[in-house]
Symmetry: D2
Subunit: 292 residues, 4 copies
C-alpha cells in the first residue's frame, strides 16, 4: 500500500544493498518478525551485476528496547552479508534546501506540494542568485531565503557561503530547481547522492544549456526533462526520473519552453518524492527506483 494514507508514526524504512546470496530476505524478515515489527511494504531487486537491493517499510511499537534490539540484529545481519544499509524514522521529515535562478516554476510547485502536505519535507532554506524581490509573489512562510549572486570573481566565495548555509540548516538534500549555475567539483563531491538537478531535456540528448533550442533545431517530435543526481560529469549523473511530451513543427522554441515547464515541474517533484521516501538506491552510475 502506498504510504500516503497511513500515519507515519512508528513507521521505519530500511534500505539496503549487498552482493546477492541466498538467505537475505529470510534473515531480514525473520529479524523484523522477532522484533514484533509488521512489514507494510517490501520491494527488492536482483541486478544483473549480482547485487541485491531492498526497501522494507515496517511499523514498530514505540518501545525503545524493541528498537535497540532490532538495530543490533540488523547490524549483525549487515555484517554477515556485507550490506550497506540505512534505517529511517518516517516521522522525521528530511531537511531540503531549494536553489533557484530566474525561472521559479519548479520552486513554486515544490513549495505548493509541501504546503498542502503532499511532499513530506522540511524546507531548510531557499538559495537564489537573484534578489528576494524577484520572488515576491511566493509565500515562503518561515523558510529562510539567501541571496547569493554569482559573479566570476565571487563564485568560490559564494560556494563557501552556500556550504555554511547547508551545514547551519542541517540540510540533507539540495534540490537544484532550475538553478542555472554550475557547482564546483568539490561541492558536487560533498553532496554526492544528496543533490538532485532537473535538466530540461530527455537525456542523453541535448546536454548543456539551451536544450530546448537544440531540440527545436534538431526537429524532434517529443521533448522531455530529466531529474538526476548531480555528479562531476555535467548531465551524466544517475537518472531518477524522466518524462516527455509531444511537440510538432508548429512549436517554436518559446512553445517548447512552455511545454517544458510542465514536464520539468512534475518530473522534479516525482524525483524529490522518491528520494525523501527512500525509494532511490544508487547502483553505480544508475539508480534503482522502488516507485509506488
Amino acid at each position: 500500500m502506498s504510504d500516503s494514507i497511513k500515519s507515519k508514526q512508528n513507521q521505519y524504512v530500511l534500505t539496503l544493498s549487498c552482493p546477492d546470496k541466498p538467505g537475505i530476505v529470510s534473515a531480514i524478515s525473520t529479524g523484523l518478525f522477532e522484533a514484533q515489527a509488521n512489514i507494510v511494504e517490501s520491494q527488492q531487486h536482483d541486478a544483473l551485476s549480482g547485487y541485491f537491493f531492498m526497501r522494507v517499510v515496517f511499523t514498530l511499537e514505540s518501545d525503545k528496547k524493541n528498537y535497540q534490539w532490532l538495530y543490533s540484529r540488523l547490524e549483525a545481519i549487515a555484517a554477515q552479508f556485507k550490506m550497506t544499509w540505512f534505517l529511517h524514522d518516517r516521522e522525521r521529515k528530511k531537511r531540503v534546501l531549494l536553489m533557484v535562478s530566474r525561472f521559479d516554476h519548479c520552486l513554486v510547485d515544490l513549495l505548493y506540494r509541501w504546503r498542502i502536505g503532499e511532499l513530506a519535507i522540511e524546507p531548510s532554506a531557499i538559495v537564489a542568485n537573484y534578489p528576494y524581490e524577484d520572488y515576491g509573489h511566493i509565500d515562503m512562510q518561515d523558510v529562510p531565503f539567501y541571496y547569493l549572486p554569482i559573479l566570476k570573481d565571487t563564485k568560490r566565495e559564494q560556494e563557501t557561503k552556500l556550504w555554511d548555509i547547508i551545514k547551519e540548516t542541517r540540510t540533507e538534500l539540495v534540490v537544484l530547481a532550475r538553478y542555472m549555475q554550475i557547482l564546483s567539483p568539490e561541492m558536487v563531491k560533498k553532496l554526492a547522492g544528496q543533490c538532485i538537478n532537473i535538466h530540461h531535456s530527455f537525456l542523453p540528448g541535448f546536454k548543456g544549456a539551451k536544450a530546448y533550442h537544440q531540440a527545436y533545431e534538431r526537429g524532434v517530435k517529443l521533448i522531455g526533462a530529466t531529474a538526476h543526481y548531480v555528479t562531476e560529469d555535467l548531465d551524466e549523473g544517475p537518472i531518477i526520473e524522466q518524462d516527455v511530451e509531444r511537440v510538432s513543427h508548429n512549436d517554436t522554441p518559446h512553445d517548447l519552453i512552455r511545454k517544458g515547464r510542465d514536464i520539468e515541474r512534475r518530473v522534479l517533484a516525482k524525483a524529490v518524492r522518491y528520494h525523501i521516501e527512500d525509494r532511490v538506491l544508487l547502483n553505480g552510475h544508475k539508480t534503482v527506483v522502488f516507485s509506488d
Copy 2:
C-alpha cells in the same frame, strides 16, 4: 506557427462555421488578401455532419479604413454562406472569472500561468464558497475576491450575486477551478459556451462526486480528468480536453487524488488556453479544437 512568440499587435482571429459548400476558403482568403491582411495560421474542419469549421489568424496594419472594409466584406461573405462567425482582436485579453472551493491547486496553477505571461487572460474576479483567509498563501495581486458561501436557503440569492459580479466585472469566461457547487439550470443557460468545468475523472466514466473513490472501487488502471463546457446535463457537456495517468493496485483513494491533482491542473490550463485563443468551436454537443 504558434502564436506565443509573435507580438499580438494588429493580429486578429476569425472563427466561423457554416454548411459545407465549395468556395468558402476562396471567398475568405481572397477577402483577407484584398484587405491587405496576411494569414499567419489557418485551420479548417469538414465534419461528417456536412458542417464546415474554420479558424484563421491574420495580421492587419492598424488602419481603421482597412478594418472596416474587411468587416463589411466578411459580413457579406457570412450572409452568402450562412455563417456563424466571430472576429477577435488578439491584443484584447479575455476577462476570466475563477471559481474555487476547498481545493485550490487549479486556481494557484492558473494564476501562476497568468503571472508569468503564459496564459493571456485578464482575471476579472475570484469567487469562492470558502473565506478569503483560506487562500491566504495566494498572491492574487489586484484581482477582486468574493466570498459567496452556499447554504441550502441562500443558494438562489448567492447566484443572483454571482450574476451581478459577472456583469459588473464584464466577465467573458467563467472557469470552475474545482468549484464543487452545482450551478442552477438558469445560470448554466446564461453561461452557455462561456463556462468551463474540470471534472476529476475520464468522462464518461465516473460521473458526479467522489470520482476517485469510484475509480478505486472499480480497479481501473488509468485515471483521468476532463475539461468541458458546463451544460444542464451534469458532466455531459462538450469535452474540450482530457488526459490520464497510470495507477496500480498500490494506489489508495488518497494516491488517486494526489495523482489526479496533476492531471486536473494541466487539463484545465490547456482547455482555458484553447478557449481564450479561440481554438474551440462548438459542433452540437461536441467540440472542434484547433490545437497548436
Copy 3:
C-alpha cells in the same frame, strides 16, 4: 530482474493471498531458504481490505526430495495463515485457447509474439465463428483450428462443443481475441479467472458493442481498450490492463477503429503475458497486477 533473460529451468513461481498478519514473509522466505531455494523476484501487496498478496519467483535445484520437502512446508505455512496458494513450474508453458471473430489483429499479434518466443504460451487451439479460409494468411503452425459458427438455435450446442475442445486440449486459459459472441453465464462460471477478454473501450465508459461509435458520438479526446477477466456481468469483470491514445475532432469512427486496433493488441498482449507469468491475483472484483 525480469524473467525474460534467464532460463526458466528449475524456476518456480509461488503466488499466495491471505488475511494480513505479522510473520508471513518470514515464514515463506525462511521456508525457501531452508529448502535451498534462491529468491529471484518477490513482490507483495497489503490491500486496504486487510488482505495480503504475494508473488515469489525462486530457483530450486532439480532434486525431487528438495521439492517435496518444500511443498510440505508450504502446505503447513498455508494452513497456518489460511492462504490460497499456487506453485507453478516455469518450464511448463500454459495451454492457451484463442477465440476470434472477424477481426484477427489480436490473434495475429498473439501468434507472432508466441512465434518469436516473446510470449511463453502453448497455444492449445484456435476457435472461430468464421471459416478457416478467412484466416488463410495466418501461419497457425500445428495449432488445431475449430470453426464453430454461432446461430441463435445452435448457440447452446456450440458451447458444448467449445467446452469439449477446452477439456480435450487441456486448455488453462481462454483468450477472447476480439471474439464477438457472448458466452453463456454457465460457461463464464466454469472459466472464472481463466478467461480474458479485450474490450474496445476504456471501461467503464462505452460498454457493449459499437464502443468506438459511442466514443465518436460523445466526442472524447482519448480512446482506449481494456483487458479484463470475463464475468457474468458483461464488461464488469476485474480489469487487468488498460491503455489509451489521443484522438481529435478529425477522427471519424473509422479512424477510431484503426487507432483502437493498435491499443487493443498491445493491451491484450500485456494482459496475457501478466496472466501466464502468474502476475495477476484476484482481489474480489479487482486485480493485483505484479507487473515487471
Copy 4:
C-alpha cells in the same frame, strides 16, 4: 476529416512550399474553386524561417479538361510564388519496397496493415539479407522477394542489384524495416526523401548499433524509437515520428528489446502512412508533418 473513410476516387493532394508572402492561400483556393474542385482538407505552416508549407486535399470530377485547366493554373501560380509543388492522384497507391534483416516484426506489421487495407501502399518488393526460408511464416502474397546477402566484398555489387530492383519495380519509397546494413552515400543520395529508416532509440540519444544496450547502460527511464529519412549522416536525417515507453531498473537489455519492438513497429507504421498520404514536407533537415 481524415481520409480513411471516404473513397479516394477523384481525390487529389496538392503539397507545396515557397517563401512566405501574402496571397498564396487566396491564389490556390480560388484556382481550385474555379476548377470546380472541392477542398476536403487543408493544412498550412508558416515556419520561423519565412517559408510557407501547405497541403490541400480536394475532389475534382473526372473530367480531363478540368484537370488540365487546373494543372496549368497551378503551374502559373507556382511560377509566380516560386513554389516547389506536387500533385498526387490519391487513387494511385505508392509503390513501396520493404527491406529487412533478421528481425521481421516491422515487416510483418507493415504487411498486415497493408492486407487489411489500413496502409494504402502497393508493395513493390521485399529485399532481405537473409534467405527466404527465414521468413517462411509470412504470407507475402504476390510480392516478389529478393535475397541479397551482404559480404564485405559483395556490398558494392549487391547495391547495384538493389538499384536495379528499385528501378525495375518502379519503387517510389524504400522502407528500412529494421534493415541492419548501411547504404552507401551514393545510394542514400539517389533515395533522398524517399527512404525511411526506423532507428531503435529516441534520437539524438543512442546513435549507431546496440542502442538498447546503450540505454540499459545509461539507466534511462524511458526508451524510444525514431523514424527518419535516411541521409548521409547516419541517424541524423529529418525526423518524421518518435515515441517512447517507460522502463525501469527491472528491465534487462532483453526487456528493452521486447518493449522496443512495440514502439518500433507503431512508429514506423505511422511514418510510412504519413509519407504515403503526402503529409510530410521537408524543411531543410527537419520535417513538417501534417498529421491527421
